[in-house]
């Protein structure tokens, strides 16, 4: 056959980098047949993950999460608002995901990235449905005042696994969140207590002290790529662009399934492949829980 031989011959003559650009799929398959990837990771291993809490000093809660080169900065700002009629004793969380043009060469100013609203919606659904935050904790005065938490996540470097990193940074930002002290002043309005007013006892304090939000069932996720019989965990941007079938599994800290997302793709998965993905996610969730706990205890020591 003409064509395979021609490529075979070329592969011995052309340099590695050129081969990688010209025949990306064959380049990857040569690695996958030896159960390794070009960055020397085994197929089931995720990249190095780090979390830094309190990255943005002006926000009420913030975190910077990095998985490999993918970097996300999440920050939470709290504002007081009136709760809706249907849920008078619940607060609200607004989640927004941004991909500014600095993160990737394919994002153009004026033309937002395709991935941004998709990840934004996914994140919103996952965080709200996982029940990580009890909205009743965000209430101040039933029917009159409640907290609105604005969570903004900025992608500073997009190198694959955007949803995983974004979810990790959101969870870390919530665990770092300090709800500010407020009190009800004479006009019936909620007023932020600044440091000078802490001694005053004539004002009824609605929020006694800076408190943390209790997080139950923290969600952790892992994105895997399916290609023929291989399952690659935590893809880079290059891998995502060549092999397009992605499966994202979100588990919570008690290993219950929160969300499963497979948006089409050329590879059809058997149930066994999905179960393998879930097993990989379970392992990854334990790793991420450890990393998050270390980051939190690191902050408390200070």
């Amino acid at each position: 056959m003409g064509l395979p031989n021609a490529i075979g011959d070329l592969s011995t003559e052309v340099e590695v980098e050129a081969f990688r650009r010209l025949f990306p799929l064959r380049f990857y398959e040569k690695h996958l047949s030896e159960s390794i990837r070009p960055d020397a990771r085994p197929l089931g291993r995720a990249r190095d993950t780090t979390i830094a809490l309190g990255a943005v000093a002006s926000a009420n809660g913030s975190a910077l999460a990095k998985i490999g080169s993918t970097t996300m900065l999440a920050a939470i700002k709290m504002e007081v608002m009136t709760p809706s009629m249907e849920t008078p004793d619940e607060g609200c969380i607004a989640i927004d995901f941004h991909m500014p043009p600095i993160c990737s060469p394919i994002v153009r100013p004026g033309r937002p990235a395709e991935a941004a609203p998709v990840v934004s919606k996914q994140l919103s659904d996952t965080i709200l449905s996982s029940g990580m935050i009890n909205l009743k904790e965000l209430s101040l005065v039933s029917g009159k005042a409640a907290w609105m938490a604005y969570l903004d996540i900025y992608c500073l470097d997009a190198d694959g696994a955007l949803f995983d990193t974004a979810l990790l940074s959101a969870v870390a930002a919530f665990s770092h969140l300090d709800i500010p002290e407020v009190s009800l002043n004479d006009d019936g309005k909620i007023v932020l207590l600044s440091e000078e007013q802490e001694g005053m006892s004539d004002r009824e304090s609605v929020n006694k002290e800076k408190r943390k939000v209790t997080l139950s069932s923290v969600p952790f996720s892992l994105t895997c790529i399916l290609h023929k019989n291989y399952i690659l965990a935590d893809p880079t941007a290059e891998e995502e662009s060549i092999m397009e079938t992605l499966v994202t599994v979100v588990l919570d800290s008690s290993s219950q399934l929160v969300s499963l997302y497979k948006p089409g793709g050329p590879v059809l998965a058997y149930t066994s492949a999905i179960q393998d993905c879930i097993a990989l996610t379970r392992q990854r969730a334990k790793e991420l829980q450890k990393i998050l706990d270390e980051a939190i205890s690191g902050m408390e020591v200070d």
């Binding site: 000093a57 002006s58 920050a75 939470i76 600095i102 604005y150």
Partner: protein
């Protein structure tokens, strides 16, 4: 309100001629051709440069030089109150234009015809002097990307409050309503590329304040040169030279 106490200390404990602490880091965005983070006190800015690359909009292609584009945007959480419209508003558009024209003056665009250089600046924390921090970050990012320039561009701001010229205003001093002079210079060529001022100021005091801002720019340029040299030494070690 007293911006300079009788002992000569400002609200954050600095002397009138003292700059805030500078911190810079190169190569922070792996995907970009060049990137840098620049901090001036609490103002933190990240800049990324993509280019020279093919012009995305063929009709804008210039046959004998490179097209320089710049976008400035602020993160929602960068200021005290959450921003509703982080870009596309008048201030962001104006600053984008200012940064573009400042950098265009020093990039040797005739060496890269029919190509495009994109400079993106994102403000992560804003505490006054964001314009200057953006220009400094853009300079570092362009140097990291290896784009040929006439000279580095450094910028600093200065103001005049309580009858004292103050260097490097923070947000509180900036919103006090006094004059705010922003200067950007090419330090080695000793030329001014950007000069902006608002509010009224007598001409002799203006010369004083502008001189102070230029001193600030020179201090920033010394720091930037140190950072760039340190980066080059690192690259040398890695290549075993």
């Amino acid at each position: 309100m007293e911006y300079v106490s009788p002992e000569g200390l400002r609200l954050d404990g600095r002397r009138p001629m003292e700059m805030r602490q500078l911190r810079a880091e190169i190569g922070t965005v792996a995907k970009a051709d060049g990137s840098a983070v620049f901090e001036m006190g609490n103002t933190k800015v990240i800049a990324a440069v993509y280019g020279p690359r093919e012009v995305q909009n063929r009709s804008q292609q210039i046959s004998d030089q490179a097209l320089v584009r710049c976008e400035y945007s602020m993160a929602n959480f960068s200021t005290g109150d959450r921003l509703r419209k982080p870009k596309g508003d008048r201030r962001s558009t104006e600053i984008s234009l200012v940064i573009r024209q400042t950098m265009e003056a020093c990039i040797l665009t005739h060496l890269m015809p029919r190509s495009q250089i994109d400079i993106f600046v994102q403000v992560l924390q804003a505490d006054g002097g964001t314009r200057s921090a953006c220009i400094n970050a853009a300079t570092l990012a362009l140097a990291d990307a290896g784009i040929p320039m006439r000279d580095i561009v450094t910028s600093c701001s200065a103001g005049y409050l309580n009858s004292a010229p103050l260097l490097d205003l923070n947000y509180i001093e900036d919103s006090a309503g006094g004059p705010d002079v922003t200067v950007a210079i090419l330090p080695k060529l000793d030329k001014v590329t950007l000069l902006q001022m608002d509010a009224k100021l007598p001409v002799d005091i203006f010369e004083n304040v502008m001189g102070l801002a230029i001193e600030g720019c020179k201090a920033v340029s010394n720091y930037i040169k140190e950072v760039l040299l340190g980066n080059t030494k690192q690259l040398e070690y890695r290549r075993g030279l």
